[in-house]
């Protein structure tokens, strides 16, 4: 995710040449997943990391520029966790990414030091990887972390004996201790000075070495016993055959409800602020076309971006907490059987869950799925998950068409929509795995890390990164789409002579902006589509709103605002919703009913109205076929679902 969609092929090659010589040496931090790599990375770099630029690598790799003792300036990169570099693998998986970064760094001019983090309590497992790294003749430093945890278990590591046995320098640290960062920096500087890469094929056996250098020195401390008992007890309940899934569902429902209940007021506050700024701009710049472009086109788009920052933040924090605590792997254990029925595995669970914040990072996160077909399936169904961008539109629909509902009713409907998204995603993957992506799946093997208290600093840091990436990637798309939309809804269509629908605006003077829109290209397209949209209960105005939100679904609200002549729809949706309620058809019946609302919800639930998602799928699948497929199938389902909902609800609801 470090660069835009253009970072492939020739462009990537060109960049390698451009940055070739005169670069800082690279320290690559590697290790098994859950080995305590992130904690150590934060301790060493002081959390000043930025997203590094690694040509051809489409996932975020954190990089920080640090000074080592002796005035040595290096860049330190936190590579994705992996188990081995040897087995044949898909280049898009974590192992493949790590290997390509290491190989490239080893072959170019800049110096490379590989620092491997090993969890002291799983020494033998870590040493298997050490042997692979040593065989590749990397300049290598092994940092054994969690030394304190090992000692609390009544065992001690002889670091000198270990270094001698594996012929690689070893540093033993406690990852969360204050002095750790400085100690690791010093050891790294020493390795760069040594400047003699170790070569040869290691002959030692990881398990034997681990037995040899770890000694039982005392009794198990109470803290260690408590820790182990805690994990066992927590697993006893959290993985309980009956209570486990129930607790899991409750946690998910709680997260989704929190997003609605907490984000909603924050979002409307941000909306009001943006609306006020927009009003200022209009006053300052007058009524011209330029002022309209700035306040409707650009600021409207920016407002949309900011408006769902709170949701992104809440969901990212929730995901980080679940992940860092070790619960996410338990969730995968619980749902593996279910996902298996649908042709996925517990590994797909994490990206699918992340998709509820935003599909873009979730599509990148599918790289933890090792099976290529399963990974593709996960990517293809991700757009069906209820991402936070759908929420403003859901909110508009709910206030407009269900004005009498209580906050509890709306929260329940929200949670229901979330589960509807999940359900449809599962059905879609079931169908896909039997058609487009059929074939055998690699079986689930998932590490279950010990429960850990999440470090607030790491969580805050990750959340900040998620928010910034969202601003950068999604924000620019929304701004662009918003600007294009403004043009579509402003430039008059040739031969446009459509009269104003007097009834709609009966209660107030028609703003100039609305008059312009009535005659625009967008309105013309909306009218042209009416024959196929009327079975869904959508008139040309909703069509124009849907066209406006093709690039980014959250633009629906501001488009409808313009259509209904509300200058600042986003500042307070209630005048918009009341105008939409009051809108009449030419024959005098109300233009929209609760049926329209339900049909709209069904449409938004399925349609992939997000160009950023399409671009991300294009980048991850390296084809145009799959993004086109996603657009086609989600819109087809959306149309059928809206049609079905509108027609069937007609049997029960008048209007």
């Amino acid at each position: 995710m470090s660069a835009g969609p253009s970072c492939h092929g020739d462009a990537a090659g060109a960049r390698v040449l451009a940055v070739g010589a005169g670069q800082r040496s690279l320290v690559a931090l590697v290790g098994r997943p859950n080995s305590g790599k992130s904690s150590l990375y934060n301790a060493v770099t002081g959390a000043r990391a930025h997203v590094g630029n690694f040509p051809g690598v489409t996932v975020d790799i954190l990089e920080a520029d640090i000074s080592l003792p002796g005035g040595f300036d290096v860049s330190m990169a936190d590579l994705p966790g992996f188990y081995t570099l040897e087995s044949t693998l898909d280049p898009a998986t974590d192992e493949g990414i790590a290997r390509s970064v290491l190989d490239r760094a080893a072959s170019d001019e800049r110096g490379l030091l590989v620092v491997q983090v090993i969890d002291a309590t799983q020494l033998a497992l870590g040493l298997r990887l050490t042997r692979e790294l040593a065989a590749r003749s990397f300049r290598l430093l092994v940092v054994v972390s969690q030394r304190d945890v090992l000692e609390a278990q009544g065992r001690a590591l002889d670091a000198a004996a270990l270094a001698e046995a594996i012929e690689v320098p070893v540093l033993a640290v406690s990852a969360r201790a204050k002095a750790t960062g400085a100690a690791v920096r010093e050891a790294m500087a020493k390795e760069f000075e040594r400047d003699v890469p170790w070569r040869g094929t290691p002959a030692w056996d990881p398990a034997a070495v681990a037995r040899q250098v770890v000694a039982e020195v005392g009794t198990v401390k109470a803290s260690a016993r408590r820790r182990r008992e805690f994990t066992a007890r927590a697993d006893h309940w959290l993985l309980h055959p009956v209570l486990g899934p129930l607790l899991f569902l409750s946690i998910m429902a709680l997260v989704f409800a929190a997003v609605f209940l907490v984000a909603d007021p924050t979002t409307s506050f941000l909306d009001r602020t943006i609306g006020a700024i927009g009003a200022r701009i209009s006053t300052a710049l007058g009524d011209g076309l330029f002022a309209s472009f700035v306040s409707d086109g650009l600021l409207g788009g920016a407002g949309t971006v900011l408006a769902f920052m709170p949701q992104i933040v809440i969901l990212t924090v929730a995901m980080e907490l679940l992940e860092a605590s070790g619960y996410l792997a338990r969730g995968a254990f619980l749902v593996d059987r279910l996902l298996r029925l649908l042709g996925l595995s517990g590994r797909s669970f994490v990206p699918l869950l992340m998709g509820h914040a935003c599909a873009i990072p979730a599509i990148a996160a599918t790289r933890i799925v090792r099976d290529p077909r399963e990974r593709l399936t996960t990517i293809l169904v991700l757009p069906l998950m209820t991402c936070s961008a759908r929420l403003p539109t859901y909110a508009l629909v709910l206030t407009t068409f269900f004005p009498a509902g209580s906050a509890l009713f709306k929260a329940c409907l929200f949670v229901g929509l979330y589960f509807a998204g999940i359900f449809s995603g599962l059905v879609a993957s079931f169908v896909l795995r039997r058609t487009a992506t059929s074939g055998r799946t690699l079986p689930l093997v998932l590490e279950m890390p010990a429960y850990r208290a999440p470090q607030p600093r790491v969580v805050a840091h990750q959340t900040m990164r998620g928010a910034l990436r969202f601003l950068r990637e999604i924000g620019t798309t929304i701004l662009g789409a918003s600007a294009v939309l403004w043009v579509l809804l402003t430039v008059p269509a040739p031969f446009a002579s459509a009269p104003l629908d007097a009834d709609v605006y009966a209660d107030s003077p028609v703003p100039a902006r609305t008059m312009v829109l009535e005659r625009s290209v967008g309105a013309m397209i909306g009218r042209t589509l009416e024959p196929i949209s009327s079975p869904l209960g959508f008139d040309w105005r909703i069509n124009a709103g849907l066209i406006g939100s093709f690039g980014a679904r959250e633009l629906m609200v501001s488009t409808m605002g313009i259509i209904y002549g509300i200058e600042d729809a986003s500042s307070d949706p209630s005048p918009l919703s009341s105008r939409m309620r009051a809108a009449k058809r030419p024959d005098g019946r109300p233009a929209y009913t609760a049926r329209t609302g339900l049909a709209l919800l069904a449409f938004f639930l399925f349609a992939c109205q997000c160009m950023s998602t399409v671009a991300a799928i294009r980048r991850e699948t390296k084809s145009f076929r799959w993004p086109a497929f996603v657009l086609a199938y989600t819109y087809a389902i959306a149309y059928v679902a809206a049609f079905f909902v509108y027609q069937v609800s007609g049997l029960f609801i008048a209007g």
Binding site: P241, P443, V445
Partner: protein, 97 residues
């Protein structure tokens, strides 16, 4: 020497510790699997099984805990250790999982 009774990890009872004898799996995958920490000679304790033939939760002698697909576990040949009493000193055994 007594013949080792044929046993698969997938059928091993909860709470029982066994030793891995062989992995009856495809070449590519088996290498990765060994690197993850499930390899011949490793001691494995079954901690729990998920419902309806879901994954099993195991702890290995190296201190790692893993969720393994049930079918996969049926391809892992294991031999029983003498009994619960034989657990190595300091091993992370847990009671009543």
């Amino acid at each position: 020497m007594m013949p080792v009774p044929l046993l698969m990890l997938g059928e091993t009872q909860v709470g029982v510790t066994v030793r891995i004898i062989a992995l009856d799996l495809d070449g590519d995958f088996v290498e990765w699997f060994r690197a993850v920490g499930i390899h011949e000679g490793e001691r494995v304790t079954v901690l729990r099984r998920a419902l309806f033939g879901g994954p099993i939760h195991v702890r290995t002698g190296s201190g790692g805990e893993f969720a393994l697909n049930r079918e996969l576990a049926r391809s892992i040949r294991v031999a029983p250790l003498a009994g619960p009493a034989e657990s190595a000193p300091g091993a992370d055994e847990e009671t009543g999982a």
